[in-house]
C-alpha cells in the first residue's frame, strides 16, 4: 500500500487539472462551511450526484477538497458572528467570539486556522499509519465478524446519540427495512415494491440522503433570515493572523491532546467532529491551571483545542470508512456514497484490489489541507464577506441544486420525489427528536447486513453459534451488549453512591 504513496504524490503534483480541482473544491468548501447552517455534509450532498459524470480522480479530488475546506471553515462563522458555521465548530464560539470582540479578530482567526491545519495534517498521518493496519486485520474477518460490526455500528450510534436511544435504534431498523425494498440477489426477485415499478431498483440512496439531511436544515435556516450580521467592526490584519502561528506552537501539548481526542472520536462510528470539538474544549478546561479564564477569549488553547480536534476527526473518520466501509460521520457517509457511485466498495479488499485509489485519497487529503492553508491566507477577507449573503437566496439556491443533483443521477422524476419525501420525513424526524444518521446508515449498511447474515447462516450450516464461538465476533457482540446495557450499568453504579 505504502509503495503507492510517493508515485501518487508525484502524479498529483504533476497534474495541474487535479491540483486545480482540489483548489476549487477547497474554495467551495471554505465558502459553504463559513456560512452558518450550511454544513460539510450539505456541501458534499450537493456535489456527490454531480460527480457522477466525472472520473474517479476528479470526483475524489473535488470532494476531498470540499470536505477539508467545509469542516475547517466552520470556525469563521463562530469567530465573526458567534454562530458556528458548522456543528463541528460549536465550541469555537465560546472563546473565539469573545477574543474577536476584544479587538483581536485576526489573532482568533489565526489561532483557529493554524490549529485546524496542524490537527488535520496530524490526523492524516494517523490515517496513513492506521488504515492499512486495520485493513490487514479486517482481511481475516468472515461474515460473522462483518455482521457483528454492522450491529455494533448501529448500537454505538444509538448509544452515543443525544437523547433517546430507543428512537435511534428504531430509526436504524427503519432505514435497514427501507434498504430491503427492490431487487435482491438473495431472493432472486423484488420485494416490498407495493406494485410501484420505480421501486423495482430500490430506493436510490443519494436523493434520500440529500433530502433527509439538506431539506430539514434549509427549512430551519429560514429562521435565521436577517439575523446573521457581524457586530465586529475591526479590520482584518494578515500580520496579526500569521503571528498566531507561533502562539499555536506555544500550546503544543494542548494541540496534541486535542488531536488525539479528535482522531479517536473520529474513528468511532457516527460521532464525528461535532462531539470532538466540544470534548476537546471541555478536556482542555479540565487540564487548565486557569479554567476560570475559559470563555473570556484570553487563552489561545481555548481556540486551538476545539479546532485541532474537529479537523483531526476527519482523518479518524476516514479510517473505518475506508477499511470497514463504516462511515465515521455524516460527511464520510456522503464520501461512501460517492465511492459507491463509482462502483468502488470500501472495505479491507479496497487496500488490496485498489491500493492506488486509497493512496490517491490519502494524498488528496494532505493536498487539500495545503490548499486550505494557502487559501485562508489569500482569501480570508472574501470568506468573511460571504457571511453577509442574505439567507433567503442561499436556501432557495441550495434546494434548487439538491433537486438538480437528484434528477441528473438517472434523469427521472422519481428521484426528485424521493428527495422531497425524505426531506419532509427528515424534517418530521428532527421535530420529533429522531436522529437522522441511523436511518441513512441503515439504508447504506442494510444490504451488507442482510448479505453477511445470509453468508453467516449458510457457512454455519444454519447455526448461529459461530457468532459466539469466533473470538472477534464474540468480542464485538460483547461490547455491543455492554453498550446496550450501559443505562442499566449506570443505574446500578449510581445506586450505592446515592444510598
Amino acid at each position: 500500500m505504502n509503495e503507492y504513496l510517493l508515485p501518487t504524490l508525484l502524479a498529483v503534483f504533476s497534474d495541474p487539472m487535479i491540483l486545480i480541482t482540489i483548489a476549487v473544491g477547497v474554495a467551495a468548501g471554505l465558502i459553504v462551511g463559513a456560512i452558518p447552517g450550511l454544513t460539510a455534509t450539505m456541501a458534499l450532498a450537493l456535489l456527490v450526484p454531480l460527480t457522477f459524470t466525472m472520473d474517479f480522480q476528479t470526483s475524489i479530488a473535488l470532494l476531498m477538497g470540499v470536505y477539508c475546506g467545509a469542516i475547517s471553515a466552520g470556525l469563521v462563522g463562530s469567530i465573526v458572528l458567534n454562530i458556528p458555521g458548522t456543528p463541528a465548530a460549536a465550541a469555537t464560539c465560546l472563546d473565539g467570539y469573545p477574543m474577536a470582540a476584544k479587538g483581536q479578530l485576526s489573532r482568533a482567526l489565526g489561532l483557529g486556522v493554524y490549529a485546524s491545519m496542524i490537527g488535520g495534517v496530524l490526523s492524516g498521518i494517523c490515517l496513513v499509519l492506521l488504515a492499512p493496519l486495520l485493513s490487514d486485520f479486517a482481511m481475516g474477518f468472515g461474515p460473522w465478524e462483518n455482521f457483528a460490526i454492522v450491529v455494533f455500528t448501529f448500537l454505538t450510534i444509538a448509544s452515543l446519540a443525544q437523547g433517546d436511544m430507543v428512537k435511534a435504534v428504531a430509526a436504524a431498523a427503519f432505514g435497514v427495512s427501507l434498504s430491503l425494498i427492490g431487487y435482491s440477489d438473495s431472493v432472486g426477485g423484488s420485494r416490498f415494491t407495493l406494485g410501484i415499478a420505480d421501486l423495482e431498483g430500490g430506493i436510490n440512496i443519494l436523493p434520500a440522503l440529500i433530502g433527509a439531511f439538506a431539506l430539514p436544515q434549509l427549512i430551519m435556516d429560514t429562521d435565521g433570515i436577517g439575523t446573521h450580521k457581524s457586530k465586529l467592526t475591526q479590520a482584518f490584519s494578515l500580520r496579526e493572523f500569521m503571528a498566531a502561528f507561533r502562539e499555536v506552537l506555544t500550546v503544543k501539548i494542548s494541540l496534541l491532546r486535542a488531536t488525539a481526542i479528535g482522531v479517536i472520536v473520529g474513528i468511532l462510528p457516527g460521532v464525528g467532529p461535532g462531539l470532538s470539538n466540544i470534548l476537546a474544549y471541555s478536556q482542555e478546561r479540565n487540564f487548565s491551571k486557569t479554567p476560570e479564564k475559559f470563555g473570556t477569549g484570553e487563552l489561545p488553547e481555548a481556540i486551538v483545542a476545539p479546532e485541532a480536534a474537529n479537523n483531526a476527526s476527519m482523518g479518524g473518520a476516514l479510517v473505518p470508512m475506508l477499511t470497514l466501509g463504516i462511515p465515521g460521520d455524516t460527511a464520510t457517509l456522503m464520501l461512501i456514497s460517492a465511492l459507491m457511485l463509482h462502483d468502488i466498495q470500501p472495505g479491507p479488499l479496497l487496500f488490496v484490489m485498489n491500493a492506488d485509489y486509497v493512496a490517491f485519497i490519502f494524498v488528496t487529503f494532505f493536498v487539500a489541507f495545503l490548499f486550505c492553508t494557502v487559501l485562508y491566507h489569500v482569501g480570508i477577507r472574501a470568506i468573511i464577506s460571504v457571511l453577509n449573503i442574505p439567507t433567503q437566496y442561499i436556501v432557495s439556491i441550495i434546494f434548487m441544486l439538491c433537486v438538480i443533483g437528484s434528477y441528473v443521477l438517472n434523469n427521472r422524476m422519481f428521484d426528485v420525489y424521493t428527495l422531497l419525501l425524505f426531506g419532509l420525513l427528515g424534517y418530521g424526524m428532527r421535530i420529533a427528536r429522531f436522529p437522522i444518521l441511523p436511518m441513512i446508515l441503515g439504508m447504506i449498511l442494510g444490504p451488507m447486513a442482510e448479505e453477511q447474515l445470509r453468508l453467516a447462516i449458510e457457512y454455519g450450516s444454519g447455526s448461529l453459534l459461530p457468532f459466539a464461538t469466533r473470538p472477534i465476533s464474540a468480542a464485538i457482540l460483547g461490547v455491543t451488549v455492554l453498550l446496550l446495557l450501559r443505562p442499566l450499568i449506570k443505574m446500578v453504579w449510581r445506586r450505592p453512591a446515592v444510598s
Binding site: 428504531a170 427503519f174 427495512s177 425494498i181 431472493v187 416490498f192 429560514t222 428527495l419 447486513a449
Partner: protein, 161 residues
C-alpha cells in the same frame, strides 16, 4: 410536542406495517441456499422496526413517558413559523412542477418567489431577487448541460394540447 412526535412515529410505523404485510409474499425464485430462508433478514429487520415503533407509541401514550425536555415546546411552535411554511410549500411545488415547466421556467419562478416571499418584499428586493434568480439559473444550466453534459427537463409547449 406529543402530538407532533406521535404523528411522526405513527407515519414511520405505518410504512413499516406496509412492508410487514408483504412479508408472506416474499418467495425465492433463486437457489438462495440450503439454510438461509429468504424471509429471515426481512422478518428480523422489519419485525424489530415494527416492535420498536409500537413500543415508542405505547410509551408516548403511557404516563411514564419521559418529561418534556426544555426547548421542545418552542420547537413545536417553530413548525408554524410563516417562513418555514412558505419555504416548504414553494419547495414542494417546485419539485412537482420541475418536470412539467422545465428546469429554466420552474427554477426561475422558484428562486424568485421563494427569496421574495421569505425575504424582504419591497420593490428593490424583488428586483435583486429576479437578477439573482436569472444569473443562478443561467450559470447552473450552463454547468449542467455543457460542463457535465447532462440533461435537464425542458418546457414542452408543443406537447401541450
Amino acid at each position: 410536542m406529543k402530538t407532533a412526535e406521535n404523528t411522526v412515529i405513527g407515519v414511520m410505523l405505518l410504512v413499516m406495517i406496509a412492508l410487514a404485510v408483504q412479508l408472506p409474499g416474499i418467495k425465492s425464485t433463486a437457489a438462495a441456499g440450503q439454510h438461509y430462508i429468504p424471509n429471515t433478514g426481512p422478518i428480523l429487520f422489519v419485525g424489530s422496526a415494527v416492535v420498536l415503533f409500537l413500543w415508542l407509541i405505547l410509551r408516548g401514550l403511557s404516563r411514564s413517558a419521559p418529561e418534556q425536555e426544555p426547548g421542545q415546546a418552542s420547537q413545536v411552535r417553530d413548525i408554524y413559523r410563516p417562513r418555514r411554511l412558505i419555504f416548504m410549500t414553494t419547495s414542494a411545488i417546485y419539485c412537482l412542477v420541475f418536470d412539467v415547466l422545465g428546469f429554466l421556467t420552474a427554477s426561475l419562478l422558484y428562486l424568485f418567489l421563494a427569496s421574495f416571499l421569505i425575504g424582504g418584499r419591497g420593490r428593490r428586493e424583488a428586483l435583486i431577487g429576479l437578477v439573482v434568480a436569472a444569473a443562478v439559473v443561467g450559470v447552473t444550466y450552463g454547468i449542467v448541460i455543457y460542463g457535465l453534459e447532462s440533461y435537464l427537463p425542458v418546457l414542452d409547449i408543443a406537447g401541450w394540447n
